[in-house]
């Protein structure tokens, strides 16, 4: 089974801190994604990457950046955390879209 591992299940950070969320997948998938999930808003795409060192903005990239230095690792960076970035963050990977995504277990980030 493909496994997508997110390094932290729960994080509490202070406003203004730089925050790194790490995601690693073990099945050589080309495509990786970062979403945030909020009640009533569903899943919203932040950034995605179809290859190493490649990144594309999703629907809500403001306040975030990403890094993909290795194929298996996709990092989400909150440059200066704000309270409105309190959310569940989900990483996913896929071979192709029609195969669906494999999601990690999520990181619940609280910014205080």
């Amino acid at each position: 089974d493909v496994k997508v591992t997110q390094s932290s299940r729960y994080l509490v950070k202070r406003t203004g801190e730089k925050v790194f969320l790490e995601c690693v997948q073990d099945m050589d998938h080309e495509n990786m994604f970062w979403y945030r999930q909020d009640p009533g808003l569903g899943l919203r795409l932040i950034y995605f990457s179809y290859d190493v060192k490649m990144k594309e903005k999703g629907d809500i990239p403001e306040g975030y950046s990403v890094s993909r230095e290795k194929k298996e690792r996709f990092s989400l960076i909150l440059e200066s955390a704000s309270t409105n970035q309190t959310s569940m963050y989900l990483c996913a990977s896929s071979i192709t879209g029609v195969d669906g995504y494999t999601f990690g277990s999520g990181t619940r980030l609280t910014v205080v």
């Binding site: 997508v4 299940r9 009533g40 808003l41 569903g42 899943l43 795409l45 989900l90 996913a92 192709t96 879209g97 029609v98 669906g100 995504y101 494999t102 999601f103 990690g104 277990s105 999520g106 619940r108």
Partner: protein, 110 residues
Amino acid sequence: QKEVEQDPGPLSVPEGAIVSLNCTYSNSAFQYFMWYRQYSRKGPELLMYTYSSGNKEDGRFTAQVDKSSKYISLFIRDSQPSDSATYLCAILDNFNKFYFGSGTKLNVKP
């Protein structure tokens, strides 16, 4: 108008009931339709996918697509407490972009 609309529930049913979960979508060009199940404090997992109109069965689960009405459904027969989760519909467009519903929370009472 959002690309995908899903009734958020929550939906509470007794064990053994038939459950119907539904989504509507706006773009008639959408072709791939999926259902994800998300247990509490977990990431979503792919449950079923279908490409065309009609029904697709997998055990107690049936996915149904009506392209003429732009309506997709997931039916769960003989529902079990272990089916209690949030169910998300997802639709893939021709540019490999996913549109997710906001999820319906289901509780199956023993």
